[in-house]
């Protein structure tokens, strides 16, 4: 049987979850022997192929992220939400306390380091903001939740190991964390 394929995406987040994944250290060699990593933020795949396991790091804050999440969901059998942003919305939710227009105005016009005398807010070149930054499961079905900011390497490794054994894991309470 061919090795199961994994694809991961980095959406509205800091990449800390992927960094934490790399912290599984030499166990990555063992893991690569068992699974095929396809599209990830550190490989250069233009398209997400059909995979067994999809991983999302980050919340969904704009149209593009929403699109990617839906695409990955349609191409994977098991979808993992990695980290607080994907699970709860995380730090991106700080903007949910005000309207999206206000957020753009703050970011592009009012911040102290911005020089934008005409008050131009980019709209055509960049994907439109969603009204609120949302956790992944608000848009697509999530099979495995791995909270943590970031989740610890051991937890990430545990989740992969369990899936390889054919189980859908939940994070044990003794290693679960939200920060």
């Amino acid at each position: 049987m061919a090795k199961p394929k994994v694809a991961s995406v980095w959406l509205e987040a800091c990449a800390g979850c992927h960094m934490s994944f790399l912290d599984i250290d030499e166990r990555i060699v063992d893991l690569i022997g068992k699974v095929d990593f396809t599209a990830t933020p550190i490989t250069d795949f233009k398209e997400i192929p059909e995979v067994e396991v999809g991983v999302i790091e980050g919340a969904l804050g704009n149209e593009e992220e929403l699109h990617i999440a839906k695409e990955l969901r349609s191409k994977c059998k098991i979808l993992i939400a990695w980290g607080d942003c994907a699970v709860f919305g995380g730090i991106n939710c700080m903007r949910n306390f005000m309207p999206a227009e206000k957020v753009l105005e703050e970011g592009y016009v009012h911040t102290a380091t911005t020089v934008n005398p005409d008050g131009v807010i980019p709209c055509d070149e960049v994907p439109a903001l969603l009204p609120q930054a949302i956790p992944v499961d608000r848009a697509v079905k999530v099979d495995v939740y791995v909270p943590g900011c970031p989740p610890e390497a051991d937890v990430i490794y545990y989740v992969f190991s369990e899936i390889l054994e054919g189980r859908i894991p939940t994070v044990p309470t003794d290693v679960m964390r939200y920060d």
Partner: protein
């Protein structure tokens, strides 16, 4: 109390009539999760975390408020309950801002701990992102209402333990928030005493203390040491949290204890900042307008050289802080009194203590302990406050008075020459001058038998007459006139003896170990104002500002040795020689408190560097003076005013005319 047998999770448990399910479960080591519940505070069952199933009952019971009944069969861990609890937690997380990654309390948070315990790996409900305000108006206490779960612990501790009742709820439903006074920002509250009890009990990151946040979570701290707060004579038991050698947080021990686990504004802020204060690390010798560092040998030799002639001429004095431990006071007493045979030895609060001692004398002769544990205020039904301002003198005593009045429905009578410190909650408020005080006390004692009673005194008289457990709080101001102290005690004797440990009197001593000082360093008279000294030895703990009376004496003395842990001003400017001593967190020993017991102070952070303990310094100084330090011969502080006769045996005594 009749015994009740019930079964919890299949285990037979015993409880008493009136116990709640939670109490019995805890006593039998059955864990039931709780969130709004806190030992010592009125249970309100609002968070629903502690729900349990009872056989034969369709509805779930909140374990913290439901009393046990005979034969009950309780289940605490069914799948249904665990699902409900997780659901409650998810709803709480969805309701306000409970995103842990940017919260100062993450890791210390009880809400977070419970959510993890219940395996909450996602929230199934829509997040509300409701935007509540963040009240940053108080310089010390921050209230972020977005993180509030409305457990009402803060409100309950503020009203039930501190008696301030600053906090309460405003608005309804989703919009409910905790508020101060009548919809005021906390910083503008007139009733808040800034004790920080609300932050201590807050289970989330809602109420936080600026001095404590981001200095280390409780769980990150290297050690947690139980000790006492030496700032005032109440001697609150505290837990000090230490991280990398700094005291980063102090908390009261337990809301279930007599003092309600509260601290006052003094202890809460002063103690944790003390490890960051400027220390005196090595001995220093004055050189012109500044100091130069010196070796212990050189500094002590200079002290001995200046001390010797002053001793011969009788112009040597010693001022010892009464904030010292029993053991330290014994060392100082043995050095100055027993070894050096000096009679000019006193504490900073000598005059005040002598006033109280003089006033207590007739009752001490009768073998009666002239005061009672301060927490008895909580049990009393009438409180007479005589010229006292407990919120300044010993703030936790003020809490007792407010709680007893507001919660315990005790009547409060205030007699003072100035402003009423309990404005708004007093039942009778009498304004008298110092001269009128004695007549008033006699009138109250004689119950109007001695003649016509003025109209305004009648109310107070009625209250005292009707009381079963009256208690008298003596202000420190009263100690200026010992006859008034005696008269106040006479009044307490006339009111009966409601408490076993002594007369129903709580004197507002100002220094934390006043009782220990009485036995050791407190002098027989005020020699400080009697004439200039050639040599003055000052032992300060650097915790409380020195009064002008003492500072003036230091200014006039020819040679001043100051022993202090901190570079406190203006004290250090007075010195010719500065000697470092360990600070409160580096010392251990005992204090006799207003609560009536002898409490232990423990080392919180071990001393470092060139510090020497007081015993070593005094021994070396004695050697420089050609003497051997005598063994400390004084009795420990609890032997001062030890009760030889029961308080109901006390007799009323006659006093001199008050000038």
């Amino acid at each position: 109390m009749s015994e009740i047998t019930l079964v919890i999770d299949g285990v037979e448990c015993k409880g008493s009539q009136g116990d709640t399910i939670l109490q019995v479960a805890r006593a039998n080591d059955v864990y039931i999760p709780t969130l709004c519940f806190m030992d010592g505070l009125t249970p309100i069952g609002s968070c629903r975390m502690c729900v349990v199933e009872a056989e034969g009952s369709n509805k779930l019971l909140t374990a913290c408020t439901s009393p046990v009944t005979e034969g009950m069969k309780i289940l605490t861990k069914t799948d249904r309950l665990i699902q409900y609890r997780r659901q409650i937690l998810e709803l709480l997380f969805a309701g306000r801002n409970h995103f842990c990654m940017f919260c100062s309390q993450s890791g210390d948070c009880e809400l977070q701990r419970l959510a993890i315990e219940h395996g909450m790996d996602s929230v199934r409900y829509p997040f509300l992102y409701s935007d509540f305000h963040n009240d940053a108006s108080d310089p010390n206490i921050q209230v972020d209402h977005n993180r509030c779960i409305l457990c009402l612990r803060c409100i309950r501790v503020c009203s039930e333990k501190v008696g301030a009742h600053t906090l309460d709820l405003e608005k309804r439903g989703w919009g409910t928030t905790v508020t101060a006074d009548l919809g005021q920002q906390l910083g503008k509250s007139e009733t808040c005493v800034t004790c920080g009890a609300c932050a201590q009990v807050c289970p989330t990151g809602t109420i936080t203390l600026r001095d404590f946040v981001y200095r280390g979570r409780r769980t990150d701290c290297d050690s947690q040491v139980e000790t006492l707060c030496p700032l005032c004579p109440v001697g609150c038991k505290i837990k000090a949290y230490v991280r990398t050698g700094s005291v980063v947080r102090v908390e009261g021990l337990s809301t279930a204890s007599a003092d309600g686990g509260q601290l006052c504004s003094k202890g809460r802020w002063w103690l944790p900042s003390s490890t960051e204060r400027e220390r005196l690390a090595v001995p220093m010798i004055r050189e012109g307008s500044s100091f130069r560092e010196a070796s212990w040998d050189e500094a002590l030799s200079l002290v001995a050289e200046k001390m010797t002639p002053a001793l011969e001429s009788g112009k040597a004095g010693a001022l010892i802080s009464e904030i010292s431990t029993d053991e330290e006071l014994a060392v100082m007493s043995s050095f100055f009194r027993d070894t050096m045979k000096m009679d000019k030895v006193d504490g900073f609060y000598g005059n005040q203590l002598r006033g109280f001692v003089e006033g207590f004398k007739p009752f001490a002769r009768q073998g009666v302990r002239p005061f009672t544990g301060a927490h008895h205020i909580l049990e009393s039904d009438a409180i007479l406050v005589l010229d006292a301002d407990p919120q300044e003198e010993a703030p936790v005593v003020a809490s007792y008075i407010r709680v007893s009045t507001i919660i315990g429905r005790a009547k409060l009578v205030n007699v003072s020459s100035g402003k009423n410190p309990f404005e708004g909650i007093t039942d009778a408020d009498l304004r008298v001058s110092g001269k009128e005080m004695k007549a008033l006390l006699v009138a109250l004692r004689e119950g109007g038998a001695g003649g016509a009673v003025p109209e305004n005194v009648k109310g107070a008289l009625e209250i005292l007459k009707g009381a079963k457990k009256p208690i008298v709080v003596l202000g420190s101001n009263l100690a200026k006139t010992p006859e008034l102290v005696t008269e106040a005690l006479n009044l307490a004797v006339a009111c009966g003896a409601p408490f076993d440990d002594g007369l129903a009197v709580v004197p507002m001593f100002l220094a934390s170990n006043s009782l220990g000082a009485l036995n050791t360093v407190t002098g027989g008279k005020d020699w400080l104002s009697e004439g200039d000294l050639d040599f003055l030895y000052v032992h300060s703990t650097g915790m409380v500002d020195e009064d002008t009376h003492s500072l003036n004496a230091m200014t006039r003395a020819r040679f001043v040795v100051v022993q202090t842990p901190f570079m406190v001003h203006p004290l250090v400017q007075m010195a010719d020689v500065l000697l470092p001593v360990p600070a409160w967190f580096e010392r251990s020993g005992h204090y006799c408190t207003l609560e009536g017991d002898r409490r232990k102070m423990n080392v919180v952070v071990p001393p470092q560097g060139n510090l020497k303990g007081l015993g070593v310094i005094m021994k070396e100084l004695a050697a420089k003076l050609g003497r051997t330090l005598q063994e400390a011969s004084t009795a420990p502080c609890e032997n001062v005013y030890v009760a030889k006769a029961a308080p109901d045996k006390a007799q009323i005594v006659t006093t001199k005319e008050v000038r």
